[in-house]
């Protein structure tokens, strides 16, 4: 394992079987990828693509059919790895009869935290997620957004090195979404590694360093967001001081000259476009795609598009 890889996945497969052991569906097919320390990593894919299954295998909620996984250098089945992991489930599956304080105290007790440390940490987190006024109300009285916030707080109670977020912005209003994204970036700035599954592509685009796109259990795309969104076969010239005549001239001149103050760059698609294209192409031409990192490995330089 390389020192900067927090998660290493090799040839991971998961087959769901029925009671009699017959194969129902293969949710993950020979998945291999790494998540590096300190990055925000996004797992994308349409429903049923295997991203949540992968995350649950990482957490030990599901057992892989084959392949290997290590998290923070330990096998996924090792409970002690959870000491340094925080997990926010897709829905906030918390104990609804507890209030915010009790919830954080309960989860804090599952770690080696003193009473004083638990109280301090709970105060910090409740303040951070903005539930100060509702901390003594039972969770069953919380709105969905409030539930997501307390869910996030419980995921961070142990000050984890690795945070796994399943649909972190689901159910949040625009302000809540903005705060969640800010928080993810804050976690990154604190040196923590964040892995998130999301359908909110704009959110992923905003916060993720790298993404992986899964489709029907296969890894289709893996790479840095900015590399993946770069359109390499087009050129864009932009200027704020060009008249129509100038533009006409430029078109002429451009054939012969470069213009120094013009912004010339490759245009960027958005993540939604990339996502839809990947899914469409995967449907039309089944089979595994090359990742940008694999291309980089072959050509000896980073960047590029599959």
């Amino acid at each position: 394992m390389s020192n900067d890889a927090v998660i290493e996945i090799r040839n991971l497969s998961k087959i769901y079987r029925d009671f009699w052991g017959r194969k129902k569906v293969q949710a993950v097919k020979s998945l291999s990828m790494d998540v590096k320390r300190g990055e925000v990593f996004g797992l994308l894919g349409p429903n049923g693509s295997g991203k949540t299954t992968t995350m649950k295998m990482l957490l030990g909620l599901l057992f892989p059919t084959s392949g290997e996984m290590t998290i923070l250098g330990k096998p996924a089945s090792d409970v002690s790895k959870n000491e340094k992991i925080g997990y926010l489930p897709e829905e906030s599956y918390l104990y609804r009869f507890l209030n915010a304080d009790e919830t954080l105290d309960f989860y804090g007790r599952l770690f080696k935290m003193s009473s004083a440390e638990r109280n301090r940490r709970a105060d910090e987190l409740i303040e951070m997620v903005g539930l100060g006024k509702a901390r003594h109300r039972q969770l069953k009285e919380y709105s969905k957004g409030m539930t997501r916030r307390i869910g996030l707080a419980q995921a961070l109670i142990n000050n984890p090195d690795l945070v796994l977020l399943d649909e972190p912005t689901s159910g949040l209003d625009p302000i809540g979404t903005r705060e969640m994204k800010d928080l993810i970036l804050r976690l990154k700035s604190e040196g923590k590694t964040v892995v998130m599954c999301s359908h909110q592509l704009a959110d992923v685009q905003d916060v993720c360093d790298r993404i992986a796109v899964l489709f029907q259990g296969e890894l289709k795309v893996l790479g840095r967001v900015e590399d993946l969104l770069e359109v390499r076969n087009e050129t864009q010239i932009r200027s704020s001081s060009l008249s129509d005549a100038a533009i006409s001239d430029i078109r002429e001149v451009l054939k012969k000259h470069n213009i120094s103050d013009a912004v010339i760059s490759r245009p960027r698609a958005d993540l939604e476009e990339l996502f839809l294209r990947t899914v469409r192409e995967s449907g039309e031409r089944p089979g595994r795609r090359f990742t940008t990192e694999e291309i980089a490995g072959k050509s000896g330089k980073s960047g590029g598009q599959a």
């Binding site: 957490l59 089945s77 419980q154």
Partner: protein, 800 residues
């Protein structure tokens, strides 16, 4: 039929632990093998590695249990139950209590039954209200956590799954205890307030000492059973009234701790006082052969207790089981040791003759049973005398032991195979040796007759008769208090021994003689030292003065002595036999004896019960007469009954949580309920099937074959031996499965016993109820926690 609850002893503990370890070991090995096979079947050769890693990981989990996390999960369960209104059951209980009072007050005129009804109502209500709560709580909580995925946030923390299981079990147990304590306290207050005033005095925990029961028939011979008066229900055996028939209760471990304080009239007539003594309580049944009047029924049957310390009865009564040996038994029991020696000589001659008869194959004079009883009788006699640790008896004990040893050899040889070389010769030799040993025993008895008479004294205290209360209110009538210092009218033997002892004591203190005559203070001495009445003291002085004058007594060296060298008791015995000491006192020869020091030997007290009414029978079983130790507070027994209920609930929780680790709530409920019903109502039935003899307990296939062949059960199948073996082999499989199942299903009956004791006003004995209940609970807790931990660990919580 035996109604006694068996106590749990140290020997049981060793057996139980061995059996438990065997079962757990077998189950563990089987589970591991199946897991390994499944792992290999799924993953091929890699399955072995996966299995090993899984096992190691599980063992690591077990080794790294964290009390902190378990406590956190326990608290969570407690909060969940409270906030989800599990305590509502408490409200139901309160409502029931509010209305129950209408129906239970004065539901029975007998106070002790009133108490029983009220206590039973509370204990049963609490149990039945708690059962659904613990069933649902234990079977539903974990599956619900998994269904709504709350558990996901816990297992993704460092909590081991076995800790989740323990946390759940402990938490639910705490909830259950909380409910039980609350309802128990309310129930206690309710009983106290609801019971009619006249019944509250019955609200106590009696601590009984039960004895062993033997019978003496109308001819005075010991028997195993009394008379069956025609009841199909042969629990009680009857003794015939106005005959020598007795029910003999042998109580062990009677000592100072058995004494209770009771009310007794002061001898000086100054009123009542509290004195220590023994409290007897009986529940005999009367059987009448004549139609009595209503008043005679209400009055009841007259019974009488005789407390006796009779080592001769204990030591020699076994001989009377044989018709041939009965004269010997009677002579020994009556202290006629010289007569007994003659009987032994006669017996010796017969045995010697049998020795000759063996050689010529002639029928013997004594039957084999006579030899067995002779051997057992001598063994028992030596044992009982040995227990007295009296050096004066050693010679006699040795003679009995010698006869015992030869008797054993003879019986062994008689039962040996006829093929043994020279069996007849050896048998003949042993007969001669036994005859010789009996002759020696006879010689010892003759020689030691006086010593034996003196050192095997009989003391009998006949208590005043009383009417046994049967159907009417009057339970108190069946409770008899006997003060520790008991005054009684003595029989001849006791009287002569008492006077002999008293005179020896006064003689040693030089208080009998003044000059050549009796001391002028002798009458006063007898009154003060021997507590003999004034009239009787004067009588003794008068008779002794005459005896001194006639030369039967003499004065030697300032002491009084019997002229012909007789012992004092023989001297007084002869006076009694000559009717010289007939008391003119209304009470006769009243004496005092100490219940503990004089009437028990090594804590053993013999109580004989007689029925005094002609044509009436008194029925009794072992528990029908008991000695009451100091009563305990009702609260103690009530708390023990609650503890027993709590243990049962805890076991249900353990089972429910275990099953719910692998199946959904309704299925877990079904399984747990099945375990409970089978364990509560069918455990005995399973046991009966398993211990049934092979002929009587036919298997399914054998029964089917016999049905087809129209053959009655017990006759057997009309098939070849080989086929029979095959059928029995096939039938052995379900039998083995049933055995396995009966070992896995807890015996829930063990938890019911405690409430029965309290309802009937008895203290709950630990060894018979709470210890077995606790061990059953613990015996299931340990494997269940491991199984549940493993099931939850190797279960995919998100499996589709």
């Amino acid at each position: 039929m035996d109604f006694d609850v068996a106590p749990f002893t140290l020997r049981d503990t060793a057996e139980t632990v061995t059996s438990w370890l065997f079962l757990i070991g077998t189950l563990g090995v089987l589970s591991l093998l199946i897991s390994l096979l499944l792992s290999v079947a799924r993953n091929g050769a890699a399955g072995i590695g996966i299995f090993s890693r899984g096992l190691l990981s599980f063992l690591e989990d077990v080794g790294s249990l964290s009390p902190r996390r378990i406590l956190a999960l326990t608290n969570l369960t407690l909060k969940e139950a409270i906030r989800r209104k599990a305590l509502l059951v408490f409200a139901v209980f309160s409502v029931l209590l509010m209305f129950a009072g209408w129906f239970l007050t004065n539901s029975n005129e007998r106070a002790e039954l009133q108490v029983g009804i009220h206590v039973a109502f509370i204990l049963q209500t609490i149990s039945w209200l708690m059962l659904p709560v613990v069933f649902f709580l234990s079977c539903w909580a974990l599956p619900e956590d998994i269904r709504i995925r709350s558990l996901h946030t816990v297992v993704t923390k460092p909590a081991r799954r076995i800790e989740i299981v323990l946390g759940r079990m402990f938490g639910m147990s705490l909830v259950m205890l909380l409910l039980l304590v609350s309802m128990g306290l309310i129930g206690y207050v309710w009983i106290m307030r609801q019971l009619p005033t006249e019944a509250t005095s019955q609200l106590t925990c009696r601590v009984p000492v039960f004895g062993r029961l033997l019978f003496v028939n109308r001819a005075g011979q010991p028997e195993e059973k009394g008379i069956n008066v025609g009841d199909v229900w042969d629990f009680r055996s009857h003794i015939e009234g106005d005959t020598r028939a007795r029910g003999v209760f042998m109580f062990d471990d009677i000592d100072e701790s058995t004494l209770v304080l009771g009310t007794e009239f002061a001898s000086d007539g100054s009123g009542t006082m509290q004195v220590p003594g023994l409290k007897f309580e009986c529940q005999f049944e009367a059987f009448r052969t004549v139609k009595g009047s209503e008043s005679s029924i209400i009055e009841g049957v007259q019974a009488q207790y005789t407390l006796s310390n009779n080592p001769r009865e204990d030591a020699f009564s076994l001989f009377s089981r044989s018709e041939t040996l009965r004269p010997l038994a009677e002579a020994l029991r009556d202290a006629q040791f010289r007569t007994a020696a003659n009987r032994l000589e006669e017996l010796s001659a017969k045995i010697a003759a049998d020795g000759e008869a063996v050689k010529i194959n002639k029928s013997p004079e004594l039957q084999p049973a006579d030899y067995i009883i002779l051997q057992l009788g001598t063994l028992y006699a030596a044992g009982v005398m040995g227990e007295r640790e009296d050096a004066a008896l050693e010679a006699t004990i040795a003679a009995f032991q010698k006869a015992t040893e030869i008797g054993v050899d003879l019986i062994n040889m008689a039962s040996a195979s006829p093929d043994v070389d020279g069996k007849a010769e050896k048998l003949s030799g042993l007969h001669k040796a036994l005859a010789q040993s009996l002759t020696e025993l006879a010689a010892v008895l003759t020689q030691e007759a006086d010593t034996l008479h003196e050192h095997l004294p009989k003391l009998e205290v006949i208590l005043p008769s009383f009417h046994v209360a049967e159907f009417h209110e009057g339970g108190q009538q069946n409770i008899k208090f006997v003060p520790r210092t008991v005054r009684f009218s003595a029989d001849a033997e006791t009287q002569s021994r008492f006077l002999a002892g008293l005179f020896e004591k006064l003689n040693n203190a030089n208080q009998l003689v003044e000059g050549d005559g009796l001391s002028s203070q002798l009458a006063a001495q007898l009154q003060s030292e021997g507590k003999i009445s004034e009239q009787n003291s004067s009588l003794v002085v008068e008779v002794l003065t005459e005896q001194l004058a006639s030369g039967a007594l003499k004065v030697e060296g300032g002491k009084l002595a019997v002229a012909d060298g007789q012992r004092w008791y023989q001297f007084f015995d002869s006076l009694i036999q000559k009717n010289l000491l007939i008391s003119g006192d209304d009470e006769g020869w009243m004496m005092e004896r100490d219940l503990i020091n004089d009437l028990t030997t090594k804590g053993r007290l013999r109580v004989e019960v007689a029925c005094l009414n002609n044509q009436m029978y008194l029925g009794m079983a072992r528990p029908d007469l008991f000695i009451r130790k100091p009563d305990r507070a009702f609260m103690i027994g009530y708390t023990k009954a609650m503890a027993s209920t709590a243990l049962m609930m805890m076991l249900i929780i353990v089972l429910g949580v275990t099953v719910s680790c692998i199946v959904k709530g309704p299925v877990a409920l079904f399984f747990t309920l099945t375990f409970f019903i089978v364990g509560q109502f069918f455990h005995g039935f399973m046991h009966e099937i398993l211990i049934a003899p092979p002929d009587g307990g036919m298997g399914a296939i054998a029964s089917a074959v016999m049905t087809a062949q129209h053959r009655a059960p017990g006759i057997g199948m009309d098939v070849s031996e080989a086929t029979q073996r095959v059928v029995q082999g096939i039938d052995a499989v379900p039998r083995a499965m049933l055995w396995g199942f009966s070992q896995i299903v807890p015996d829930f009956r063990a938890f019911n016993a405690a409430s029965g004791f309290v309802e009937n006003g008895f203290d709950v004995p630990f060894a018979e109820t709470l210890i077995p209940a606790f061990l059953i609970c613990l015996g299931f807790l340990i494997p269940c926690v491991l199984i549940a931990g493993a099931l939850l660990k190797f279960r995919e919580l998100e499996s589709k």
